[in-house]
Structures are given as C-alpha cells and as structure tokens.
C-alpha cells in the first residue's frame, strides 16, 4: 500500500524541471560509498487488508481490560470513557494538525488547550497549568529541575512510597545535573514520616515532593507537609491523582507551589502505558519558570477574542540551551481527551466517578478484611487503591484470579522489600461491578474455583 500520488510521468517531468536527468543526480551530495546497497531487508509492501490482518492478529494475542475485570492501577486505570471523547479525537482537524504555529488557522486547537489548562488549574486549585507534559514521571522531573532552578539548590526530598518507575525517571533527569534525591520513609500507616521529613529538610532542599494519594494509595497530610516544607524554605511539589481531586483537598488549597500528575484517568485509554498525559500547574509568580507550552487568550486587531502560544521565550525553539525545558512535541491530543472527558462528565459526573471509585475500593477493602489471613497493613485512609497481603502466595492468588477473568493487582514487594511478604497493590475504579468485587473476595477466601 503506497500513499505516494505522483505517477512515473509526474516524476519524469519534475526531474526535468529540477534540471536533473535522473533521481540519482539529485543524490549527488551523498557519496555513493555511503549509500544503502541492495535495498533494505524488510518485507514486501502489504495491502491494506494484509496490514489489518497482520497487526490485527497481534491485537488479538493480547488480553485487554475489556475481556477481564481489571484491578490494576499504580498510575494507569481502567476507567469508563464516554463516546464523545473518541468522537472528538477522531476528527482529523484535531489529530492531523501540527503544533499551532500559525495561530489564526489553529484556533480550534488553541482554544481547546486553553480550556484544558483552565480545567487542570481548577482541578488542582492552582493559578495556571501548562499545555501538557509527557507523563507524570517527566512532569515531576521537570518540576524538580524547575524547583532547583528557582531555589538555586541541588537537593530534593521524595517519599519512599512513590512509584519506582517515577523515581527512576527522576534519577535519570537528576544524574547529569548533580541533583541529589533523598527518600523519606513511610510510617506504619503507609504515609510519609513527618519527623524524618523535618529532619531531612533541615539541610537546604529545593523541594519536598508529596505524593497524595501515594503509591500505596494512602492519603497524606499534605497541608502539614506543606507547612513543614515552607517553614524550611523548600517548595512543596504535589504529585496528585486528578480523579482524587474531586474529593480530596487540592494542592492549591494546601499551598503547593507546583502540582503535577498523571492525566491518563481523564479519558485516555490504557494503551499499554502510552501515550499518557503529564500535567503541571503552578502559582502565577512561578509561571515564567514553568517548562512547556502555554496558551493565552488575547484579542485580534479587530478586538475579537482569540488564543496564542505565549511566553515562548521560555521555550527551546526561541531560547535554545537557556530554555526552561527541552520539551517541544508534547501530548496535545491527550490534553484534548482530558478536556472532552471532563466537560462530558461535568462537575457532577466527575465527582461521581471519584465517589464511586472510593466507595468501591473501600467496599473491597472491607470484604477482604473479613477474610481470614488477609493482611491490610495500612488502614482505611486511602482513596481508591490499597496494599494487601494474601494468605497464600500472591503469585498463586494472582494466577488463580487470572484464570477466573480477574486481573487482581500488581505485585509490589519486589520493588518495596520493606513491605515484607508478598504484597500486591489493588485498585478499584468506578467501572468495577459488585459482582466483580465479590468474586475477588471469593477468590481471596479460597472460594473462587466454583465460578
């Protein structure tokens, strides 16, 4: 299948006009010794129907959420996505357009992103948000660089109860810049140890990162930590789950300086982990230090409202090595998904998603707490996700559940040996049904085989 439209005679004529007697002549700047000999070793071109069956067969060799009840979380969730999202995203006006460099003919994208920024700002209760980052991990890494640059410091404090993958990305970004990342352990309640945080903050740090809910699903005393950080001259960077913010106190309310998070929950399919949507919001005073694209409302020469990219002097295409970040292509279409998702669900529907996620996860928690041998180490102060240790081995539990059409959770003791035993992380979103939740309990109670 070829998408080239020139015919042989077109090419002949074009070469003639370009003053070349053959295509080879146009390749004159490329030393023949450097050229590919004998063609690439790839297959022959496939027709559209062959591509569909070849790649379609790969899709069918997976077992996606739709064919099993997923209790997997850890940053990526199986949530209901209203049909409006796919409908809007399938309009080629959005998905085939470039970054809005010519504002006058890109008002659709620009306004949509402006509205996205507004929704993130409202959700986090911060003053402003940028147009998107790659994912939560890189958004946090950029927040780290931003904090270090603001505070002219090279040390940040992070919770030990944080995703090891996010932590790994932080390390990659920190390494070349000589930034030290230090960890604050968790207490018996699975939340950050305030005393230890206070201790570590006594040495100069650019920022204290608080993840709430943290990787174990637990809600932190973010307000207390914020006060602590500020009292020691550090910024507070909040790593948050956007759905939780419909219920929990948002970063702006407890004085966070930068809020970042993963927006996949906002209408973006799981897609094996990508594309994701890193969001970042901050206070007005810090906006010029913020990485990434920003869209601003303005007016045209006739006074009509319109939208433009703004503060581009922070960006790499203008400032090059002095830019606040190297980000260029971001996750624009995912930001659009989030905007469509949030406006479709609306104020009430979005709150309902949060409430149901909390209600259902707490329901499973309580059901499991009644099963003999099940250990729930951290108590009930969680939003939609919790850590559990099963009576037997978690591996065999997960395997049994898998056989019964349930993806039971992520085994996490390997990454967090301090958890001891065989812990798994279980997430319950609004999509899970009573039947699925009860079946989960039954399997945990050793009564799953009958199904």
């Amino acid at each position: 299948m070829s998408y080239i439209q020139n015919t042989d005679s077109d090419r002949k004529e074009m070469l003639r006009v370009a003053g070349a007697s053959s295509f080879e002549q146009l390749l004159e700047p490329v030393d023949p010794a450097l050229r590919v000999k004998g063609g690439l070793k790839l297959g022959r071109p496939m027709s559209e129907s062959e591509v569909l069956s070849h790649v379609g067969a790969m899709a069918s060799r997976n077992r996606p959420a739709g064919s099993a009840a997923s209790f997997l979380g850890g940053g990526i969730y199986d949530r209901f996505i209203p049909a409006t999202v796919r409908y809007v995203l399938s309009r080629s006006e959005f998905y085939t357009s470039y970054t809005p460099y010519q504002a006058e003919v890109s008002q659709g994208t620009l306004q949509a992103i402006y509205e996205y920024q507004s929704m993130i700002a409202k959700l986090t209760a911060m003053d402003a948000a940028n147009a998107s980052m790659y994912d939560a991990a890189t958004a946090l890494a950029e927040a780290m660089l931003m904090a270090c640059s603001i505070k002219r410091a090279d040390r940040i404090l992070v919770p030990a109860a944080m995703s090891v993958r996010v932590r790994a990305v932080l390390e990659s970004y920190a390494a070349g810049r000589g930034i030290r990342i230090e960890e604050i352990p968790w207490t018996d309640e699975g939340t950050m140890d305030h005393d230890k945080a206070g201790e570590l903050l006594s040495e100069k740090a650019a920022a204290l990162v608080v993840a709430s809910p943290n990787y174990f699903g637990m809600i932190e005393d973010a307000a207390g930590l914020s006060e602590l950080a500020h009292s020691k001259g550090a910024l507070l960077v909040a790593l948050v789950d956007p759905v939780s913010l419909a219920l929990l106190s948002p970063p702006g309310e407890y004085g966070a300086d930068i809020a970042v998070g993963e927006g996949q929950s906002l209408g973006i399919p799981q897609n094996f982990g990508g594309p994701l949507l890193g969001f970042m919001a901050t206070r007005s005073e810090l906006i010029r230090k913020c990485p990434g694209r920003l869209i601003s409302a303005t007016t045209d020469i006739e006074g009509k409202r319109g939208y433009v990219m703004t503060l581009q002097t922070r960006e790499q295409h203008i400032r090059r090595e002095k830019a606040t970040s190297n980000i260029c292509t971001n996750e624009g279409l995912c930001a659009l998904s989030a905007a469509v998702y949030l406006s479709t669900m609306g104020e009430d529907g979005f709150r309902e998603v949060a409430r149901q996620s909390a209600a259902k996860s707490h329901a499973l928690y309580r059901l499991l707490s009644e099963v003999e041998g099940v250990v729930l180490p951290f108590g009930e102060n969680f939003f939609q996700e919790f850590v559990v240790r099963m009576p037997g081995s978690s591996e065999s539990f997960i395997e049994e559940a898998r056989g019964a059409g349930i993806l039971a959770g992520i085994p996490i003791s390997g990454d967090y040996p301090l958890l001891g035993g065989d812990a798994i992380l279980v997430a319950v979103t609004e999509k899970r049904t009573r039947a699925e939740i009860e079946r989960y309990r039954d399997i945990a109670a050793g009564k799953g085989g009958a199904l």
Binding site: F23, S106, L247, Q270, R293, T299, R319, R402
Partner: protein, 482 residues
C-alpha cells in the same frame, strides 16, 4: 454561539454516563475534604459536540490541504492505522499486565525495533522516549553514562548553529555544556572548524542529517572520523530521516546514537502537538546503556527485561507511546522495503521540483540539489516593506498553510519548505503559483499582505499583550487579572 465551554456549560445539565453507585458509603464523606465546586462545565451532549466540532472547524489540518512546514514532515496519516491502533486488544491493555496476556503487544514492539534497526543500521533501539526532544535527551544520557562508565570526564557537546532548538536545550537539560559552531557558506559543517573546536572535553558532536537547511552533509565521513578520533560520539538528530529511507543507514556510516521521530517519518499524526514518539538507536558498544526495560524474544515468547546494569534507567513511566508504535509499525508494513525507499525518493524529487519553482520568486541562499526540504528567503521582499511573516499570513488567506518561518536562524527571513512525498505535482504547482501571486502582491500592493489574514477565523492576534499579561485560565467573562 461562540465562547468557552465554561460559558456554554454554565448552569446546564450533563448526561449520565456511569450507573448509579450500588455501594453507598458514608465513609466517603469523611474523605471529601475539597471545599466548594471544582468549576467544571455542566453541558448537555449536543452542545458539547457542537462546541468541539465548532472548534475543529477553526483548524487547518492535513486532510484539508498541503502543510509545507519545514522540519515537520507533515505527511498523510493513513486512516486505516487509526483504525488498527484503536483495536481493543491494544487500547485496553494495562502496562503491568502479565506478559502472557500481552504477547501481541510485545511482539509488535519487538518487530518495530527490528525494523528501525534495519532502516537505520543501528544495532539496538529503545522505543521509550515519547518525542524527538525526549529522544535527544535520552541519547545525551546514554553518552553521559557511557563516559562515566569509562571514567572520562567530558562535559562539552558541540552543536552546529543550524541545529533545531531542542538540540542545545536537550544538551543543557542533561547537564552538558553546549558549544555552538558556525556552518560554512554552503550551509554545511566545516570539518576544519570542527577539528579546531573538538578536544578531550568533547563528549558528543550532535548533528542533524540532512541538516535544517535540507542539505546532506557532504563531509559526513570525515566528520565522523574527526569525532571518533577525538574519542567523542556522534549523535544524529534523525527527525529528517524522511530523506534517507533506503538511501543512507546512519549506523553504517558511523553514527553512534540517533533518534527518530515516528510522528514525522512514519506517518503517525501530530495531534496538534503530540503524542509523538522518539525512539533512540545506538550502535553495539552503547546498547547496554539503553533505557530499561527492553523487549526480549526467547523460546517461550516475548518479555520485558532489565538487561544490563549499565542502563541509564528510565525516561518514561512505562514503555513509551505504545499507541504510536502501532501506527508506525502498520505504516512500515504497508510500505515495505521498496515503499520506504519510494517515500524518500519522492520526498526529494518533490522538494527539488518545488525549490526550482519557488526560487523564481524568492531568494535561495543555498542552491544546488536539496534533500527533502529547502530554505527560501523573503529577503528580496524587504524592499517593499514586506516581511516573511506577511507572506506566511497571506498564504492562509489562500487556504494554504505557511511554511516554517524564521528558522533556521542562520537564514534571514527564512521560509523553510518541506513538501513531503504524499503531495502530488498538481498540489505543488498550486502552492508555487500562490507563492508567485503573493510575491507580485508584495510588490504591487504590500498592504494586502500586512492585512492578512482576512479569511481566517481571526485576524492577526496580539501576542505582545498575551505575553505581558497572560490569560492562561478561564476565570470568568473578564479573564486576565481577575
């Protein structure tokens, strides 16, 4: 009925998308610490759809017409690839699923990596970086850890002045010190200058090939030799790979590290600003430094592995932009070996043809065959008080998109034009004829150009006011400052 979604959704009612809660829980109220409303819209589905369809109608896009943005490779995005990438077997996969339940996804990633290796001649690829700049940064991290592993303290990365802005930015973000060298009067890297500037502190020489003037670096072999002799690595920004498919394999000419932009060369859509995908490829001696996990194929199937302790670690929460891989892989399957070669041949023929036509009316600083794009200049119109931005805006009035303007910085009043291979001759002829008309208007009635655009949804926008007092968040009818 214009206005923001907040205005349209003020005081309305939303639809009902999820079932009633059958787990009422009083405890939830205890968690519910948030005070007051979030401020999200409440809007019915009909008006919501109208809002977004209305916004859509204000966008230029590939399915509307030619998109000659230089350096951006705005080619046709096959609709079948969207269909394939939307299959539930892909979209519904959680990244932490049991590998046995994701064999198709792993196979696809493995096949894509292999195809990219074959296309570029590199030994190994990581698909983890999610954009070109992210790939650059990843590449820099690899260089950083490579020298650290060898115990060499090299802190400088040499970058030509023609480089894309992300190049020096990525260098700096990674903690290296960028050092700019000027290109010569032919728009190429001068091996002599490079030889003078390079030394034991140089970690990497970072070049774009073809460069941002659309030119192939004629001295590439010598450049590579100079860099390697100095013990440094050659990094190639492969965002312009659309010119080289089946023509040059960077790995075989000595490039050590490179990235590709799948969202350019491999036809995945740009999405108004992403998602992209910027895989990084390296030669054998650097393979251990690639991000983890890597996809491994063994007897029993495919799996993710942490293959080496030398790895730079991770640059993404999971495995990169998987949904983009599906489209790029489908595209490679469609094209096959011969089709990929045809892509570059046609991209080059189109660019040279269009360059010939456009250069009748606009300046051309670097004549001679170009690769997949070329840089013209509106400097000849300055005499009439017309600037390149006026030409760009006037193009919009003709229903076309403008080329990339004022980049690369080394060409005054630059108009960087990349026609791509999917446009046919008639379309290029039309574009050239409009460029001609505009150059005549510039001479005869420059005011038309200053006034442009007049047919777009808005006239020229006040960017200065936005920068002075940015209105980044809708807070009510008044906006900024409230």
């Amino acid at each position: 009925m214009s206005g923001t979604i907040f205005e349209k959704g003020a005081g309305g009612i939303s639809g009902r998308y999820i079932p009633e809660n059958d787990f009422p829980d009083e405890k939830i109220d205890a968690l519910a610490a948030r005070k007051g409303e979030i401020g999200l819209p409440r809007i019915g589905e009909q008006d919501l759809i109208r809002h977004y369809v209305g916004l859509a109608s204000k966008n230029y896009h590939i399915d509307k017409g030619m998109y000659p943005l230089g350096s951006c490779t705005m080619k046709y995005n096959p609709v079948v690839n969207e269909q394939i990438a939307g299959l539930g077997g892909f979209t519904g996969l959680h990244p932490a699923q049991d590998e046995r339940d994701a064999q198709g996804a792993l196979e696809l990633m493995h096949n894509l990596e292999s195809a990219l290796c074959e296309i570029t001649g590199m030994s190994a690829f990581s698909l983890q970086p999610v954009a070109g700049a992210h790939g650059e940064l990843t590449g820099m991290m690899i260089a950083r850890d490579y020298f650290r592993d060898r115990g060499e303290d090299r802190k400088v990365v040499i970058v030509p002045d023609s480089a894309h802005g992300t190049n020096p930015a990525s260098v700096a973000i990674c903690g290296f010190t960028p050092k700019t060298i000027a290109s010569n009067e032919k728009g190429l890297i001068d091996p002599g200058i490079l030889e003078k500037e390079i030394d034991g502190s140089t970690a990497v020489f970072m070049l774009t090939l073809p460069n941002t003037l659309g030119l192939f670096e004629r001295e590439i072999a010598r450049i590579v030799e100079i860099v390697h002799r100095a013990g440094a690595l050659v990094y190639m920004d492969g965002a312009n790979m659309n010119a080289l498919l089946g023509i040059v394999r960077p790995g075989t000419i000595g490039i050590d590290i490179m990235h590709l932009n799948l969202h350019k060369t491999f036809a995945t859509p740009h999405g108004g600003g992403g998602p992209g995908s910027g895989p990084v490829g390296v030669r054998e001696h650097l393979a251990d430094f690639l991000p983890v996990p890597r996809v491994i194929r063994e007897e029993g199937g495919y799996s993710f592995r942490h293959v080496s302790d030398k790895t730079i670690g991770r640059v993404h929460s999971w495995y990169g932009n998987f949904n983009v891989f599906v489209k790029a892989y489908a595209y490679i399957c469609s094209c096959g070996a011969e089709g990929l070669r045809a892509v570059s041949e046609n991209a080059i023929i189109n660019a040279n043809y269009l360059m010939t036509l456009v250069s009748k009316w606009y300046d051309l600083k670097y004549p001679g065959p170009c690769m997949h794009e070329f840089v013209a200049s509106g400097s000849n119109l300055k005499a009439y008080g017309v600037r390149t931005t006026d030409v760009a805006k006037r193009l919009l009035d003709y229903g076309l998109h403008a080329p990339t303007v004022y980049f690369p910085l080394i060409v005054e009043e630059a108009l960087m034009i990349e026609p791509v291979e999917t446009e046919k001759k008639e379309t290029l002829d039309h574009f050239a004829s409009v460029m001609e008309k505009i150059s005549i208007e510039a001479r005869e009635n420059p005011q038309i150009l200053h006034d442009a655009p007049v047919t777009a949804p808005v006239r020229r926008l006040d960017e200065a006011a936005a920068a002075r007092c940015p209105d980044l968040c809708w807070t009510g009818p008044g906006g900024c400052g409230e």
